[in-house]
């Protein structure tokens, strides 16, 4: 029972990371119909930006700032201007395939120009453990969960309460009407890409000390976050949050009480079940389109 608490905390921490990445999926989909299959690599890359900055002698805090700025510029602005805008004119499918190509390109670039080997990465949250209810809970899990939840709360507040956030929501819900009302839709979409870049950079800083920095480390994360977004509801930010947390918990509990070998399959079973019985996701909104 005491160890169950450990599992739940660990699952919540992992789930919170999945949620951060999954929110990016839903934001990009809502504002620009972009399904970014390179999202996992977007989580992998900021850690290498930070490592590169550390290698030139910057202190950790400065390297983190450099990593965040590089993520915003390359994974936010450049991604939108160079890949999404030109490809989206040709439809959602060509863009999805382009992001798959981008995923391969990013992985191979890191392998080629940095290293194929895993790298250690400093933790931004304290290590050690906290005695709680008679068991030791890792501080890192608590820290990761708290920071990820804080980021989600700030984002939700920004979207719900600020003028820019409401304009972003309007642009996502109906861009034509938003334009008529004078909302700069293109700028709002760019902000969404920047938010996605910031979220994946934060996820990268939180998860890499545990998973290690490696060119392949985004593969699992990207898939898990994609599943989380579908399970929760692809058209709702809160769906991504619910999906991420559910998936993190299910993954950890299944690995302990069902089988480690089948841990990779269980989220997929969950995905199939949701698609069959609740295709809009656990908290998603049903959408109808005429063909």
């Amino acid at each position: 029972m005491l160890n169950l608490l450990n599992l739940v905390v660990s699952g919540l921490a992992t789930g919170a990371i999945y949620a951060l990445v999954a929110i990016g999926f839903t934001l990009l989909w809502q504002t620009s119909q972009t399904i970014n299959f390179a999202q996992g690599e977007f989580v992998m890359l900021p850690a290498f930006f930070v490592l590169a900055a550390l290698n030139v002698g910057l202190p950790f805090w400065a390297a983190v700032v450099v990593g965040m700025i590089a993520a915003l510029v390359l994974l936010g602005v450049t991604f939108k201007l160079v890949l999404v805008d030109p490809m989206l004119r040709h439809g959602v499918l060509p863009l999805a395939i382009a992001t798959m190509a981008l995923s391969i390109f990013l992985k191979d670039s890191v392998k080629e120009f940095y290293s194929a080997e895993a790298q250690a990465f400093p933790s931004i949250v304290p290590e050690g453990s906290l005695a709680l209810f008679g068991t030791q809970i890792p501080l890192q899990s608590i820290g990761v969960f708290v920071l990820a939840v804080a980021a989600v709360v700030v984002l939700q507040q920004f979207l719900a309460r600020s003028s820019t956030g409401r304009q972003m929501q309007a642009a996502a819900q109906n861009p034509t009407v938003a334009r008529i009302l004078g909302i700069p839709v293109e700028r709002m979409i760019l902000y969404t890409f920047l938010i996605n870049a910031a979220l994946v950079a934060l996820a990268s800083l939180l998860i890499t000390p545990i998973y290690l920095a490696k060119f392949t480390s985004g593969e699992t994360l990207g898939l898990a976050a994609f599943i989380a977004a579908i399970v929760g509801g692809f058209n709702q930010v809160r769906g991504a949050i619910v999906g991420g947390v559910v998936l993190g918990l299910v993954d950890n509990l299944a690995a302990t009480y069902v089988s480690t070998q089948y841990r990779g399959a269980i989220p997929l079973f969950l995905l199939i079940a949701v698609i069959l019985w609740r295709p809009q996701g656990l908290v998603g909104r049903a959408e109808e389109r005429t063909v």
């Binding site: 194929a116 080997e117 998973y211 290690l212």
Partner: protein, 377 residues
Amino acid sequence: MNRLTIATAMAVALGMSAPTMAQIKLADVAELSGPGATVGTNWKNGIDLAVAEINEKGGILGQKIEVTHADSQSNPGIARAQVQKALDGNPYVLLGPGYSGSVKVTASLAQQAEIAQIMGGEAAELTQAGNPYLFRTSFGQQSSMPKVARYIAEEVKAKSVAVVWVNNDFGKGGRDMITKELAKRNVKVVADLSTEAGQADFAADAVKVKNANPDAVFIYLNEEESARALKEFRRQNIQAPLIGETTLIGQKVIELAGDAANGAKGHVGLTTDAPVPAVAAFRDRFAKKYNYVPDHNGIKGYLSIYVIKAVTEKMGKVDPKGFAKTLHGMTIKPEQEPGILMEVTYDANGDIDRQSFMAEVVGGKQVVKEILPKMGN
């Protein structure tokens, strides 16, 4: 007439230049990317260092060594294709792969080509299949696991052990061997935990270990997974001694796991921290060239080239067919071949006998606690 003269002159020129142009071609297939990148990169760099040293001194029997490297991507299927391609180039000796699973699917190819294969795999079964062309660079599990089991039973005095292993040929071989050896010493396995290659999250495994409450934990994973497991086990405050083999306390694991590696113990067949001057000198040369301290795979790659040198010089000729026959039963001493670093004997199966070490990670460094002599001594 003129044409004949030119042709003759060219033939003579080519004939005269042949001895100086002759090269010993070696083909290496290693895990240069994928989960085994640490293994393959160290192995490759060790090979390149030895080749550079030997070529600088004039080569083997006056012939320079030329080595090609191919990436198996840590995938047995790709390893097999790369080995087939390498064998098509008629190498003198095949080097690698490092992963036991990749060795298993490639050994028959080298055997059919009658080319000796010097590899890094440690699964016990590899050299027990009667392949006369397969040679190790490190201990097989049948040699190392009895030493680890003895340490757990007699030094740690553990009555129960949790075994955490990676679900591939390397891990399964080690798990089977350690379970057998622990049973011989009446040590009970209270948790038998299979993990996946490339696994990132060990939280569930740590909880299972805590639930089993063992006297010791035996961890047998590849390097990156070892580092992740150590970090998670420390995070979850597991107090039982963490014991393993070379892959638990290697240089790369220490680098990746940081403080979490401290206190981990293990049997190491090869270590750059061995109290052997020749090994220390190798470590310095390697670190100077590549700017990092190698793990045991770096030494394995390095030694493979010096084994080739010693065998070839003993034969007095570059004879691919005779290579395997010569190496079986051969003892190579540092006095004869300094590059071999420590005396090594090859048996009829291609297994090695060499002194080994029990070590512990202390303050981020591997510290040798005990020297175990050659078994043949």
